[in-house]
C-alpha cells in the first residue's frame, strides 16, 4: 500500500561508488556553471549592461511597488485559474469514472481537448472569437478562463490516477458496511486519493502560473506587463528581465519544494506495513 513516488521507481538508492561519482559530477557541473556565469557577466559588462543606469532604479521603492502590483495581479489570475481548473478537473474526473457511458465519453472528449489544445489558442479564442459572438469578458477573465480550461484536463487525469491508486478493497469495505456510492467516494476513496494527487496538483499550479504570462495577449496588467513598462521607461531590458525571471523562479521553486514536502510527508505513515496480500 505504500506509494513509492515515480522517482523511487526510477532510481535505486545510490551506493558509495555512485555517490562518489555524483559528487564529482556535481563539482564539475558547478565549475561549468560558474564559468558560464562568468562569460555571461563579462559579456554583459562589455555591452555596458552592468552600468549603474540599468540597475539604480531598483534602489527606488516605487519600482518594487510597481513590480509588486504586477506580481499581485499575476498571483490573482493564477490562483483564480487554479481554483477553477481544480473544480473543472474534479467534475471531469467524476464524469470519466461514471459507469454510464454518456458522461464518460463527454468527459473523455473534453479532457483530450483541453490536454491537446495550446493555451495560447484558447486565449485567442476568448480574446478574438467570443467578443464576435457578443460575449465580452474583461481582461482578467480572458486570461484566467483559458488558463483554467487548459489545466483542467491534466488535473482531471491526476485526480483519476489518484482515485485508481486507492486499493479497491477500501471501496469494497465501505460498500459492504452499507455506505452509499457517494459516501464511499467522498469519505473513503477521495480523501486517500488526495494524498497521491496533491504533489501533481502543485506542479500543475506552476504551469498555470507560467501560462498567465500570456496575459500580454489580452492586455491584462500582470507582472510581465509591468516589467515591459519598466523596460521602456528606463530603457533597461536585460536587468528587468533578469529580476522578473528570478521572481518567477523563486515562486515556482517554493511551490515545488512544497510539493516535495507533501509527497515526503505522505510516505511516512504508509511505509509501515498495512494490509496484506490482495
Amino acid at each position: 500500500m505504500s506509494a513509492p513516488t515515480i522517482r523511487d521507481r526510477l532510481y535505486e538508492a545510490p551506493g558509495p561508488r555512485t555517490r562518489r561519482r555524483v559528487a564529482l559530477f556535481t563539482v564539475l557541473a558547478l565549475i561549468g556553471l560558474g564559468f558560464l556565469l562568468f562569460i555571461i557577466i563579462r559579456q554583459f559588462a562589455r555591452q555596458g549592461q552592468l552600468e549603474a543606469r540599468y540597475w539604480d532604479f531598483f534602489l527606488k521603492w516605487s519600482t518594487w511597488r510597481y513590480l509588486g502590483q504586477g506580481l499581485l495581479s499575476t498571483l490573482k489570475a493564477a490562483l483564480t485559474a487554479a481554483v477553477i481548473a481544480i473544480a473543472l478537473g474534479f467534475i471531469l474526473m467524476r464524469g470519466k469514472l461514471r459507469q454510464n457511458p454518456v458522461p464518460r465519453w463527454i468527459a473523455t472528449a473534453v479532457i483530450e481537448f483541453t490536454r491537446g489544445v495550446p493555451t495560447l489558442l484558447l486565449i485567442y479564442f476568448f480574446f478574438l472569437v467570443l467578443p464576435r459572438m457578443g460575449l465580452n469578458l474583461g481582461a482578467f477573465w480572458r486570461i484566467t478562463l483559458p488558463c483554467a480550461i487548459s489545466a483542467s484536463g491534466i488535473i482531471a487525469e491526476a485526480f483519476r490516477a489518484g482515485v485508481n491508486a486507492v486499493p479497491k478493497g477500501q471501496a469494497e469495505a465501505a460498500l459492504s458496511l452499507g455506505l452509499s456510492n457517494t459516501r464511499t467516494f467522498y469519505q473513503v476513496v477521495f480523501p486517500q486519493a488526495l494524498r497521491f494527487v496533491i504533489p501533481s496538483l502543485i506542479s500543475e499550479l506552476v504551469i498555470v502560473l507560467k501560462d498567465t504570462t500570456f496575459a500580454y495577449v489580452v492586455s491584462y496588467a500582470d507582472l510581465m506587463q509591468h516589467a515591459k513598462v519598466l523596460i521602456t521607461s528606463h530603457d533597461a531590458l536585460v536587468s528587468v528581465y533578469l529580476v522578473v525571471a528570478v521572481i518567477y523562479i523563486l515562486i515556482n521553486y517554493a511551490l515545488n519544494r512544497m510539493s516535495d514536502r507533501i509527497a515526503q510527508g505522505n510516505r511516512r505513515p504508509t511505509v509501515q506495513r498495512q494490509g496484506g496480500a490482495a
Binding site: G169, G178, L179, P269, T270
Partner: protein, 251 residues
Amino acid sequence: MTQIQSRDVPVIELRHVDKHYGDLHVLKDISLSVGKGEVVVIIGPSGSGKSTLCRTVNRLETIDSGEILIEGVPLPQDGRQLAALRSRIGMVFQSFNLFSHMTVLDNMILAPTGVLKLNRKAAKDEAMALLDRVGVADQAHKLPAQLSGGQQQRAAIARALAMHPRAMLFDEPTSALDPEMIGEVLNVMTELAADGMTMLIVTHEMNFARRVASRVIFMDGGSIVEENTPEAFFTQPRSQRALDFLQSIRN
C-alpha cells in the same frame, strides 16, 4: 420483511446461481443455504470460486442467473435498498481493508453514524466496547498501519459487528497473517460462533473448520462438489476430489 422471518427461513440462500467472467464459468449452479446461527465453512483449492461466491452474497459481484435471498427476500439490485441490505451483512476481507486514512475508532464509527444515524457519542461507546471485546481497545486512536496484521483483522471484525449484522461473511480472514497472529483472529471468530452469529467462512484453517463448522462445503472448479458435516468431511469425504484435496494439504 420481519414478519416472514422465522426459524426455518435461511438467513442466506443461493438458488441455482451461475456466474461467468467472460468465458470462465466461475460459479456453476450453486445452491446453498445458511440457517440462523449456522456456521458454514467453504473449503476448496485456489481458483475454485470461493471468494466469488462469498462476494455475490452482498452483491460485490453480480450474478448471471439464479437467485440470492437474504432472510427470504431477494437481493436488491442497487441503490438504497442494496446499501441497506449490505449494512446488515458484515464482511471481513483477507486484506483487512481498514480505511487507512482514519484511526481505528473512526473506522468503527463511520458506518454507524453515517448509515445507522447513531450519534457520535453512542457510536463511540459501542465501538470501544466492541474493540475491547476483540482485544484492541488500546489501539483505538492509532492509524491502521500502526497495528499488526492480527490487530487490524480483529479491528475489521469489530467494525463489521458495529453494524449489528444478521450474518457475517469471511473471505480467508487469516491468509494474509503471519502464523503467530492467526490464532488470535480465529479465537475471535470462535467466540462469535459460540454467541450464535450466522457465518459463512472461506478458510484453509482445517482444524478451525472442524471445530467450529456446522457444515462444510467443498468447492472445486466453480461447483459445490460435496456438502457434509465437519466430522464426516474430514474423516471420510464422499468425493474423490475432496479426498485428494485433503491429502494434498496434509502433506
